[in-house]
């Protein structure tokens, strides 16, 4: 097998507190192939954004990587010196944040910010960088890019600003783009456009994407594979179609059941009882056990690892026997 573009191994992110460390991300592992789009879904506080920040090396202190490894094309990047990691950010890993209204520096023109980013990473003259910047803005669908490039961020609407942010993230042709809730802060009417632009541009530039969102619809449309996170762990990871049609993990099926569909007419949507545990008291065993309707004794004692089932991996004891049986036959 070829080396995956990105490989995260047993990532643990902790926040030190007076009562000992809080583990916000606990043993997350996944691979991402070149050109692949991986969706990461989960509730607020499931550790999606932290995982993204950890990959690009921008965890806000006091949060830090307590253990685990992150590899970019086989090279370990989680323990690099600050200056080496800086050279990777923007150049090899780009990031798009949630709120386009606050992502751009209000005091600089779009041209200033694009040219600065381009020239930080590529050896181009001011004029070449400007040409490239206009090309990028054109690509992300900003009309009259050569004129609007000299405008300030406040002269653009939210959707347009997010396009600029995407252009900035792609300015130096990164191999991986981490999009952290790129449409959450936008009007519903422009969300689809932005997702289209993001996907189309990343495909064109050959970048893999980690798309962090809590919108299953966005994932269904965009991603190749999806990772469902719960309480800082991956509950289930696999091809999007399969997981949407036939979720294995009880949490994932609960999640899918809570999405309204046009095909069926239901009075009430399915709701998972209870809420995600606080970081300070994640129950022993499977973190989902207090809310799970298929819970049995083992779930309360032992934490399930990711168990391969068909094309995917599920962290649930229900599938332990299935695999052992398969192995046996």
């Amino acid at each position: 097998m070829t080396t995956p573009l990105l490989s995260v191994r047993d990532l643990v992110i902790e926040f030190p507190t007076r009562h000992g460390p809080l583990t916000a991300v606990d043993g997350v592992s996944f691979d991402l192939a070149a050109g692949e789009v991986l969706g990461v879904v989960g509730e607020s506080g499931a550790g999606k954004s932290l995982t993204g920040s950890a990959i690009i090396g921008l965890l806000d202190p006091p949060g830090h990587i307590a253990s685990g490894e992150i590899y970019l094309k086989g090279e370990r990047i989680d323990n690099l010196r600050a200056e080496d990691m800086r050279a990777i950010r923007g150049r090899r890993i780009g990031m798009v944040f949630q709120d386009p209204l606050t992502s751009l520096n209000p005091l600089y023109t779009i041209a200033d910010q694009l040219i600065e980013t381009i020239r930080t990473h590529l050896r181009l003259s001011e004029r070449e960088a400007r040409q490239r910047a206009i090309g990028l803005l054109d690509d992300v669908g900003i009309p009259a890019a050569s004129r609007r490039i000299d405008d300030y961020p406040h002269q653009f609407s939210g959707g347009m600003r997010q396009r600029v942010v995407i252009a900035l993230a792609l300015a130096a042709e990164p191999e991986l783009v981490i999009a952290d809730e790129p449409t959450t802060a936008l009007d519903v009417s422009v969300q689809a456009q932005i997702i289209d632009v993001l996907k189309e541009q990343c495909t064109q530039h050959g970048a893999s994407v980690i798309l962090i969102t809590h919108d299953m619809g966005v994932i269904a449309e965009t991603a190749d594979r999806v990772a469902v996170m719960y309480s800082g762990r991956i509950a289930e990871i696999g091809p999007v179609r399969e997981i949407i049609q036939n979720a294995k993990h009880p949490y994932t099926s609960g999640l899918m059941g809570s999405i309204p569909t046009l095909a069926q007419e239901e009075d009430r949507l399915v709701q998972i009882p209870g809420s995600m545990p606080r970081l300070s008291d994640i129950p022993p065993g499977c973190p989902f056990n207090p809310r799970c309707d298929k819970v049995f004794d083992k779930c309360r004692v032992q934490r399930p690892a990711l168990i391969p089932v068909e094309n995917r991996q599920v962290a649930c004891w229900l599938y332990e026997e299935a695999t052992t049986n398969e192995v046996a036959t």
Binding site: F97, T102, F156, G159, L168, A171
Partner: protein, 327 residues
């Protein structure tokens, strides 16, 4: 933007008129100038003659307008004590104060911004904490005490710097400068530090807190995510965003540097307008006091106006064509 500038200028003129009124009232209500001008050997006829001559019998409003007209032409009256035109005395003294204020403002801004940025970036470092703690001294000690302390250490104990005066000065036209002689440069160090220390610590603490605020924003995080160098982020992106509030405060502080020069000039016997003012108070030399009051208010108003205009240079969102264009 033009409308804004015109409005601000009109406001400034109004403020100056009001200050002029206060200055003018001093003549009217702080004792009778005629009493001061004519000695004890006066007759009632003398008093009437002088009153008439000085226009003191005119209605209040007429006198006020005359006063303003004279002031605009640079005629601020004659000093009771020195018997010379006030404008001449002030022109003689102003270079000393302006040089002192300029140097201490430069000191306050350079060190204030520099240390503010440093303490914000190295938030938990030992040096940063040390600077923050000592800066409390700058904020809390009164100016005259700092001045006396500095004199004690550097002039009395170490003997490195002079404890009073301006040193030798060189005349360039009517302007006398202390920058061109060694003794002049040495002499300005202690007063400038004394005068600027409070402003420096104030600017430093302000820059620090603004900077910490800005460093938390999304656009700084996004700038990091784009791999920009730490220097570009700290000094290009973050510092520029802290400037608007910092410039407001700095502008006001430069005004007060000129105003508070009174104390420093007294401590160091610096021959500037502040010292002139203190002496004028002792001798109830009202024309000098009034002129000083007007001068300081003109400075304040002017600095405020410049600060307001600087906002436009720094923050594009304030410009008139700030209409948000949709997509």
């Amino acid at each position: 933007m033009l409308a804004y500038v015109i409005r601000r200028v009109l406001q400034s003129i109004f403020v100056l008129l009001m200050v002029g009124l206060v200055a003018f009232s001093m003549f009217r209500f702080v004792g009778d100038p005629v009493e001061n001008l004519l000695g004890q050997e006066r007759t009632q006829a003398d008093i009437e003659r002088v009153r008439d001559q000085l226009g003191l019998n005119d209605p209040f409003a007429v006198q006020y307008v005359k006063f303003l007209g004279n002031a605009l032409q640079g005629n601020l009256g004659v000093s009771y004590r020195q018997g010379r035109p006030v404008s001449e005395i002030i022109a003689e003294r102003a270079p000393a104060t302006l040089e002192l204020a300029g140097v201490s403002a430069l000191f306050a801004v350079l060190f204030g911004v520099g240390l503010g940025v440093f303490t914000a970036i190295r938030r938990d470092g030992f040096m940063a904490n040390f600077i923050m703690t000592t800066s409390l001294i700058g904020v809390s000690l009164p100016t005259f005490l700092i001045g006396i302390l500095l004199i004690y250490i550097f002039a009395v104990e170490l003997g490195w710097l002079p404890s009073f005066g301006r040193g030798e000065t060189v005349k360039i036209g009517w302007w006398s400068t202390g920058f061109l002689t060694e003794s002049g440069l040495k002499a300005i160090i202690l007063p400038a530090i004394t005068l600027g220390l409070y402003q420096m610590t104030l600017i430093m603490r302000l820059v620090r807190s603004e900077m910490l605020e800005v460093l938390r924003t999304d656009y700084i995080k996004f700038a990091r995510a784009r791999g920009l160098s730490t220097r570009a982020i700290n000094f290009g992106h973050a510092l520029k965003n802290t400037l608007v509030p910092v410039i407001t405060v700095t502008g006001l502080q430069i005004g007060s540097i000129i105003a508070f020069a009174i104390i420093t000039e007294t401590v160091f016997q610096w021959p500037g307008v502040g010292l002139l003012f203190i002496n004028a108070i002792q001798f109830v030399d009202i024309p000098v006091m009034a002129a000083y009051l007007m001068l300081i208010s003109v400075m304040f108003v002017l600095i405020n106006l410049i600060v307001d205009l600087l906002y436009f240079v720094i923050d594009p969102r304030l410009s008139a064509d700030a209409s948000t264009r949709g997509h």
